[in-house]
C-alpha cells in the first residue's frame, strides 16, 4: 500500500512530541522528509553556506586564507562605503515615497467619496504589472538626453538646452517607488476594508471628532500593516539590481547589488561574496524585524461584515484632489507604457514620430531572429522546470508542516522561505561559488540557472500553496479516510484539487519572473543559455537600441498582464462554499500573505 502521505507516519509524528527531532520521524513520512530535506539542502542551504565560507576566505575546504580581510577591505574601500550609502538612501527614499503614495491612495479609494475609484484601481494594477526594469527603460526614454521630454522642451522653447536628466539616485527612488507603491496600496486598502467599522463608530459616539477618530483609532489600527509593508518595500528596493544598473551605473554611482555584479565581472569572487554578506545582513535584519512585528500585532477583527458607512466627504477638495490624483497616476502608470509602446514602432530610437519612421520590423525581428526566439524559449523552459521543482518541494513541506510541529519540519520550512530575504544578485553569487567546481559542476550548463530559479521560486510557491492548504479543514481529509480513501488517495482526491488554484498561480508568477529576471540571468548565463533578461540588459547597454528593447518590453508587459489577470481570476474561484469561523480567521491571517506573491 503506497502510504505516501499516510497515517502510519502520522501516529509517529504525534508521538514525536516526546522526543523532538528529525530522527523520530520514521515510517513513510520520513521518506518524504528526507526527499524534501535533500532538495532544500541542495537548492538553498548548500549554496548559502558556501557563500558564507567564501567570504571568510575558506574555499573548497582550504583554510589557508581564513580571515576577515575581505570584510576589513569592504570598510576601507570608499566605493563600497558609497554603495552602502546609496543603497540605504534608495531604500529609505523608496519606502517613504511608496508609503506616502500608497497610503494616501488607499484612503482616498476606501474612505472618501472620491469619484474615480475604479480607474484608480486599474491604474494601480497597471503600474504593478510593469516590471521595474522596463519602467526604468521608459524613464530613460522620457527623461534621457534624447528623451521625449527634452525633445518637447526643445521643440516648445526653441532653445537648445536639455533640462531633464534621467540618471540620479532620485530617479531610482521614483522608478522603484512607482513600481512598489501598488503593494502598499493593496495591503493598506485590505486592512482598511477588513477593519471593524464599529471601532470607529464607537469612537465618534464617545465624542471624537473625525480627525480624532482617524488619529486615535484608524491610524493605530492600520499601523502594523503600514510598518510591515514598509519594511517589505525597503528590502525589495535595496535588493533591486536592474534599475540601479540602468540609472546609476552610467553616472559612475553604485549600490551594493551593482557592486556585487561588477566585482564578479572583475573576477573578484571573494569581494563579491563579502559585499553580498553585507547586503544579506541588511535585508535579513529587515525581515527579522518584520517577522516580530507581524507576529505580535494583529488587529484583524472577526465581525466586519457590516458595510462601511463612514465615507468622508471631500467637500471643496474633491475636484482639485481628483485632478491631481488622475494626473499623477497618468504620469506614473500610463505614460511609461505609452512611451514604451510608441518607441517600439520606431525605425531607430531618437527619430521624430512621422509616418515614414514607423515600422513593425522590431516585432517581426523578435520572432525571426533565432537569438531572441531562443531567449524566450529558454526563459519559459527554465522557468517551467524550476517551478515544477519548487512546487513539488513546497507541496511536500507544506503538507508536513500541517501534520507535524516537529523541529525538523520547522527548520525545513524556515530554510525554504529564506530566499525571500536574499537579493537575486546574492543568490547568483552563491550559485557560482557552489556550482562551479566539484562535486557539482553545473556552471555553463542550463542547470545552474534552473537550480537558482528554483531556489528563488521556493518562497513564492510555499506561500501560495500554504495559504490554501491551511484553509483545508483537517476534517475534510478525515472524512475522505473514513469514506475509504488511503493517504495517497486523500492527497490526490481532496488536497490536490483544493490547492490547485495555488499551484496554478505559483506557476504563473514563477514563469513571469523567469521572463523578466535580470541579475541571476546575467550572472549565470553562458553562450546558448541566454534568457529574456539577458537580452533586455545586453541589447540596451551594448547598442542602446531602445526600439528593439521596447518591442521586447511590450511583449513582456502583455504577458505579465495576461498572467496577472489569470491569477486574479483564479483567486476569486478559490472560495469553496461556506467556511467555518475558525478557517475564516486563518484566511484573514494569511490574507497578508497575498502581497508576498508580488515577489520581485
Amino acid at each position: 500500500m503506497p502510504y505516501i502521505f499516510g497515517s502510519k507516519g502520522k501516529t509517529h509524528l504525534k508521538n514525536s512530541g516526546v522526543n523532538k527531532g528529525i530522527t523520530r520521524i520514521t515510517g513513510n513520512s520520513s521518506f518524504i522528509f528526507i526527499i524534501s530535506a535533500l532538495m532544500i539542502v541542495f537548492l538553498i542551504v548548500y549554496p548559502s553556506s558556501i557563500l558564507i565560507l567564501e567570504s571568510f576566505g575558506i574555499s573548497k575546504g582550504n583554510f589557508e586564507n581564513f580571515g576577515f580581510s575581505s570584510y576589513v577591505s569592504i570598510f576601507k574601500n570608499i566605493h563600497t562605503f558609497n554603495a552602502v550609502k546609496n543603497t540605504l538612501i534608495i531604500g529609505a527614499g523608496t519606502t517613504l515615497f511608496a508609503l506616502t503614495l500608497g497610503v494616501f491612495l488607499a484612503f482616498l479609494v476606501c474612505r472618501t467619496d472620491f469619484p474615480l475609484k475604479k480607474y484608480v484601481n486599474w491604474m494601480v494594477f497597471m503600474s504593478f504589472v510593469i516590471p521595474h526594469y522596463i519602467l526604468g527603460i521608459s524613464w530613460i526614454e522620457m527623461f534621457g538626453r534624447n528623451g521625449y521630454f527634452n525633445r518637447i522642451f526643445v521643440y516648445v522653447t526653441g532653445q537648445n538646452t536639455r533640462p531633464f536628466s534621467a540618471y540620479s539616485v532620485i530617479s531610482v527612488v521614483i522608478v522603484l517607488g512607482l513600481h512598489l507603491y501598488p503593494i502598499v496600496f493593496m495591503a493598506v486598502s485590505n486592512a482598511i476594508r477588513k477593519g471593524d467599522h464599529s471601532l470607529e463608530e464607537a469612537a465618534s459616539i464617545s465624542g471624537a471628532t473625525r480627525f480624532k477618530v482617524f488619529r486615535d483609532i484608524t491610524l493605530p489600527l492600520i499601523m502594523p500593516t503600514v510598518l510591515s509593508i514598509g519594511l517589505f518595500v525597503f528590502s525589495r528596493s535595496i535588493a533591486n539590481f536592474g534599475v540601479s544598473a540602468l540609472l546609476l551605473v552610467p553616472i559612475y554611482e553604485e549600490t551594493l547589488t551593482t557592486r556585487v555584479f561588477y566585482a564578479l565581472n572583475d573576477l573578484d569572487l571573494r569581494g563579491a561574496s563579502s559585499v553580498s554578506i553585507v547586503l544579506v545582513s541588511i535585508s535579513g535584519l529587515v525581515f527579522l524585524i518584520q517577522y516580530f512585528l507581524t507576529k505580535n500585532k494583529n488587529y484583524s477583527s472577526i465581525n466586519s461584515n457590516e458595510k462601511n458607512t463612514n465615507t468622508i466627504s471631500l467637500g471643496k477638495l474633491k475636484y482639485p484632489l481628483t485632478v491631481f490624483t488622475v494626473l499623477f497616476l497618468f504620469c506614473g502608470s500610463v505614460l511609461p507604457v505609452v512611451s514604451i509602446f510608441a518607441s517600439s514602432f520606431l525605425k531607430r530610437w531618437g527619430l521624430p514620430f512621422t509616418f515614414e519612421n514607423l515600422t513593425l520590423k522590431n516585432y517581426t525581428d523578435i520572432f525571426t531572429n533565432p537569438k531572441t526566439f531562443n531567449a524566450f524559449s529558454n526563459s519559459i523552459v527554465y522557468g517551467l522546470i524550476a517551478s515544477a521543482m519548487a512546487i513539488t518541494a513546497s507541496l511536500m513541506i507544506v503538507r508536513m508542516t500541517m501534520r507535524s510541529k516537529s523541529r525538523g519540519v520547522k527548520i525545513l520550512s524556515f530554510f525554504s522561505s529564506m530566499p525571500m530575504a536574499i537579493p537575486n544578485t546574492v543568490l547568483a553569487i552563491a550559485a557560482i561559488l557552489a556550482w562551479n567546481g566539484p562535486p557539482f559542476e553545473l556552471y555553463s550548463t542550463p542547470w545552474i540557472l534552473i537550480v537558482t530559479f528554483a531556489a528563488l521560486f521556493m518562497p513564492i510557491c510555499m506561500k501560495n500553496i500554504a495559504g490554501l492548504m491551511e484553509q483545508i479543514d483537517p476534517k475534510l481529509v478525515e472524512a475522505a479516510r473514513i469514506s475509504g480513501a488511503d493517504g495517497f488517495g486523500a492527497m490526490k482526491d481532496i488536497i490536490l484539487p483544493m490547492v490547485f488554484p495555488g499551484i496554478k498561480s505559483a506557476l504563473i508568477i514563477s514563469l513571469l519572473i523567469s521572463l523578466r529576471e535580470i541579475p541571476i540571468s546575467m550572472m549565470l548565463h553562458s553562450s546558448g543559455t541566454e534568457t529574456v533578461g539577458v537580452l533586455l540588459f545586453d541589447m540596451r547597454s551594448n547598442s542602446g537600441s531602445y526600439e528593439t528593447t521596447s518591442a521586447i518590453a511590450v511583449i513582456i508587459i502583455a504577458l505579465c498582464f495576461l498572467g496577472r489577470l489569470f491569477t486574479e481570476k483564479g483567486k476569486k474561484r478559490r472560495k469553496y462554499g461556506k467556511l467555518s469561523e475558525r478557517n475564516m480567521q486563518k484566511i484573514r491571517k494569511h490574507s497578508g500573505a497575498e502581497r508576498r506573491q508580488f515577489e520581485y
Binding site: 464599529s198 463608530e201 464607537a202 469612537a203 465618534s204 459616539i205 471624537a208 483609532i217 488587529y299
Partner: protein, 318 residues
C-alpha cells in the same frame, strides 16, 4: 414613537426589519432619509429642516453587538477615552474609570487588553465605556447575542440592574423575544421598517394588536369564524362584530381525557421537561396546546379541549 425618561424600551423584530438602522439613526452614525429625532427637547436630526447633529456631539452611550473595544488600547484606556475627549481632569478621570470598572466588577483588569478577556467581561467593559460619560441615552445593539445561554441570562439581570440604578433611558435592540419580555418596561415590535405595536410586555403578549405581533411573540392559534370551533366561547364577540378573528395562546387551553367544549385527536407530542406540547386536530384544524408536565396523552388518543375565556384576544380582519 415616544420614549419616556428613565425607561428601558426594547425594539424587537425579525432580522432585516430596520431595528439596528433605527438605533444607528438615533446615535447619529447613519443619516436618516426623513423624519425627526428629538432628545430632551433638542432637535437632533430633521430631514425636513436638513439639520443633523453628528454622533460625537450627542452624548449618547452605545454598546455594539461585537462590543467594538479598541484592540490597541487596554481596558483603562478604553473606558477613559470618552472621558478624555470631554477634557476631564486626570484625577477625576481616574476616579470615574475606577468607579465604572467597579460597577461592572472588573477592578484590577485595567492593564489587560480586550483579547485577554472573556466574552462576558468584554461586554461589561463595553458597558462601562458606554456609561462613563453619564450619557443622556443608552443604546444597546443586540449586546447579548454573542454570549452563551447561561451567561446571557445573567447579563440580562445585570443590565436591568445597572439601568435601574442609573435611571438611564435605554433603547435595546434584539431579535430574542424572551430577552425582550423579561427585560423591558415597554416593547416596540417592528416589521419592515414600521412599528407595529408599542406596549408593556404583558399587553404585547396577552393583547397583540395584529396578526404579525401575535405570531412573532410566542406561539399562538388563530381561530377564524368559519373554523367553527369554540363556538360557545367566542359567541359574545361575534355578537359585537363579525369582522374579527381570534388568537389563543397554547397555554390558555386545557386538555382533558373526559369532557370539554371541543374534541379532537392528538397528532403529535413534544416533551419539553417543564411542560408538554401537543398538536390536537379538531375537524381538520391543528391546534397547539401546552399542558403541565404530568398531563400525558398518547398520539391518536381522543381528547377534549377547554378554553379560558378571559385569555381570548380578538384581532380585526384586515
Amino acid at each position: 414613537m415616544n420614549i419616556e425618561n428613565g425607561e428601558l424600551i426594547t425594539i424587537l423584530g425579525p432580522s432585516g426589519c430596520g431595528k439596528s438602522t433605527l438605533l444607528r439613526c438615533i446615535a447619529g452614525i447613519t443619516l436618516p432619509d426623513s423624519g425627526e429625532i428629538t432628545i430632551n427637547g433638542i432637535l437632533f436630526s430633521s430631514g425636513r429642516k436638513n439639520s443633523f447633529i453628528p454622533a460625537e456631539k450627542r452624548n449618547i452611550g452605545f454598546v455594539f453587538q461585537n462590543y467594538a473595544l479598541w484592540p490597541h488600547k487596554n481596558i483603562f484606556e478604553n473606558v477613559a477615552y470618552p472621558l478624555k475627549l470631554k477634557k476631564i481632569k486626570k484625577a477625576e478621570l481616574k476616579r470615574r474609570v475606577g468607579q465604572m470598572l467597579e460597577m461592572v466588577r472588573l477592578e484590577g483588569s485595567e492593564n489587560k487588553y480586550p483579547h485577554q478577556l472573556s466574552g462576558g467581561e468584554q461586554q461589561r467593559v463595553a458597558f462601562a465605556r458606554a456609561l462613563a460619560t453619564n450619557p443622556q441615552l443608552l443604546l444597546l445593539d443586540e449586546p447579548l447575542s454573542n454570549l452563551d445561554a447561561k451567561l446571557r441570562e445573567q447579563m440580562q439581570n445585570e443590565i436591568k440592574n445597572i439601568q435601574r440604578e442609573f435611571g438611564i433611558t435605554t433603547v435595546h435592540v434584539t431579535h430574542d423575544q424572551s430577552e425582550a419580555l423579561s427585560m423591558s418596561d415597554r416593547i416596540a415590535i417592528m416589521d419592515n421598517g414600521r412599528i407595529m405595536q408599542i406596549d408593556t410586555p404583558f399587553k404585547i403578549y396577552s393583547n397583540p394588536s395584529n396578526e404579525f405581533v401575535a405570531n412573532f411573540i410566542g406561539k399562538t392559534n388563530f381561530i377564524y369564524s368559519d373554523d367553527n370551533i369554540f363556538g360557545s366561547g367566542i359567541q359574545d364577540y361575534y355578537a359585537k362584530s363579525k369582522n374579527v378573528y381570534f388568537s389563543i395562546r397554547p397555554e390558555d387551553l386545557t386538555v382533558s381525557s373526559k369532557t370539554g367544549e371541543e374534541s379532537g385527536v392528538v397528532k403529535s407530542v413534544k416533551y419539553k421537561g417543564d411542560s408538554i406540547e401537543y398538536t390536537v386536530n379538531i375537524n381538520g384544524k391543528d391546534i397547539f396546546v401546552k399542558t403541565g408536565k404530568n398531563d400525558f396523552f398518547e398520539i391518536g388518543q381522543r381528547v377534549f379541549l377547554n378554553l379560558k375565556k378571559e385569555a381570548l384576544s380578538a384581532l380585526k380582519c384586515s
